[in-house]
């Protein structure tokens, strides 16, 4: 077997292919999944999660601190239990509050955290107790309408 120019061209072709897949993985997709070793789990119970989805961002002061990993209905309390993977470098106080917010007018929903004043931090597996649920448009309109009719009746 001897080397030939065809081998060189095929080598270049295969190298180009590997480079292309690498580029797609690193530059086009985001190949920085947070591994479980760099995150810890916190839970939060909401009355209503609205359109929150798994993998939705968790932000504090607008900075990404983690992602939602699971949403399920608690069979005992009938509230939505959201499992959150928080980056290990961020500690949460035990009176942190979580609310479900919407990015932009038509954007997707995310969890916003607001630190409290407590000195103690939540440990891994802890539950955030102070939560405010997602705004549901129908309920908002309902409140608005009843407020409207209430005003009419008082006149």
């Amino acid at each position: 077997m001897k080397r030939s120019t065809i081998d060189l061209w095929v080598g270049i072709f295969v190298a180009l292919g590997i480079a292309a897949v690498t580029f797609l993985s690193l530059k086009v997709a985001n190949l920085t999944p947070q591994s479980a070793s760099q995150t810890y789990v916190l839970y939060a119970d909401f009355d209503n999660v609205g359109g929150l989805k798994v993998k939705a961002p968790i932000k504090e002061a607008g900075v990404l601190v983690g992602r939602v990993s699971d949403i399920r209905l608690d069979p005992k309390t009938y509230r939505a239990r959201v499992t959150m993977n928080i980056d290990k470098q961020y500690q949460m106080s035990d009176d942190v509050s979580a609310s479900i917010l919407t990015s932009g007018l038509l954007g997707e929903q995310y969890v916003g955290l607001q630190q409290g004043g407590s000195e103690n931090n939540l440990s891994a597996g802890g539950t955030i107790t102070i939560t405010s649920s997602a705004m549901v448009l129908e309920q908002l309109i309902g409140k608005f309408m009843t407020g409207f009719t209430g005003k009419d009746a008082s006149k």
């Binding site: 077997m1 065809i6 081998d7 061209w9 095929v10 270049i12 072709f13 295969v14 180009l16 292919g17 292309a20 897949v21 580029f23 797609l24 993985s25 530059k27 086009v28 997709a29 985001n30 190949l31 999944p33």
Partner: protein, 261 residues
């Protein structure tokens, strides 16, 4: 009079039986390729030579088409997205459209019409000039010597070509969106990265192109091997390769998309 009624029915029946017959033969043909692959993979030189003809020689058409497809996506996407005030999402739109659909499908269509038709014509001509029979007489298995190397070359080349098509297409979208129109480069890439998922989009796109590679190459070598050994037969087989490949690619694309996304 009776013949007027029965003759179309006869032709229809003949066409159906022929199609089923060829499907069975193609399945057995694929098994024969797999059974004879060991020899062709041991003699890598044959497969590498075919990768050169199928893959390397298709580079130009793939790269140029990819660039223009990416640029058109950039232009069309920008005009539509700008209406909704979300021109920033252009990077994500171009990348997702290419990775999920356009890259694998268009690269496979181009591959079928450039490399697939050439394979069919070559094998068909070998059959017409009785080269395949001559090989058998000399105790050289044409399946292992001619068919299997071409099949594997196509299967290996297709994902590489699709990946290159995607990269050049993304670059084309960048050229139009950032260089020509003047969107922010950082936003272009960050939107792309936050919306493109490695497993969901990139890996699934590669799986798609691999499946298309198997389908197109199998059709190409089968049509060549099954060609009627005349000049007209070879030309008909080449036409059939391109037409069948295009239909199979689009049908498979629907099935795979339904499964994946």
């Amino acid at each position: 009079m009776l013949d007027l009624i029965t003759s179309p029915l006869r032709r229809l029946g003949h066409a159906v039986i022929n199609a089923v017959w060829r499907l069975g033969f193609a399945s057995r043909f694929l098994l024969a390729i797999l059974a004879n692959s060991g020899q062709s993979l041991l003699r890598l030189q044959l497969t590498i030579r075919e990768i050169y003809f199928a893959g390397v020689m298709s580079l130009i058409i793939i790269v140029v088409s990819g660039l223009f497809v990416g640029m058109v996506l950039g232009l069309q996407g920008y005009t539509t997205l700008a209406k909704f005030g979300s021109a920033d999402a252009l990077g994500a739109m171009v990348a997702l459209a290419l990775l999920r659909e356009l890259g694998p499908v268009l690269a496979a269509l181009l591959f079928a019409s450039r490399a697939g038709s050439a394979m069919t014509a070559e094998i068909g001509l070998m059959k017409t000039t009785e080269q395949l029979d001559a090989m058998s007489v000399m105790a050289v298995n044409p399946m292992a010597r001619v068919i299997a190397p071409r099949f594997w070359a196509g299967v290996i080349s297709m994902p590489i070509l699709a990946a290159l098509f995607n990269v050049v297409g993304v670059f084309g979208g960048y050229l139009v969106g950032v260089v020509m129109i003047g969107l922010d480069a950082g936003t272009f890439w960050s939107q792309m990265q936050s919306n493109v998922d490695l497993h969901y989009d990139v890996i699934n796109g590669i799986i798609k192109s691999l499946v298309f590679g198997i389908a197109v190459t199998l059709i190409a070598v089968f049509e060549g091997y099954d060609a009627t050994p005349t000049a007209a037969g070879v030309s008909a087989a080449t036409t059939r390769t391109v037409v069948t490949s295009a239909l199979v690619i689009l049908a498979l694309d629907f099935v795979l998309t339904a499964f994946m996304f």
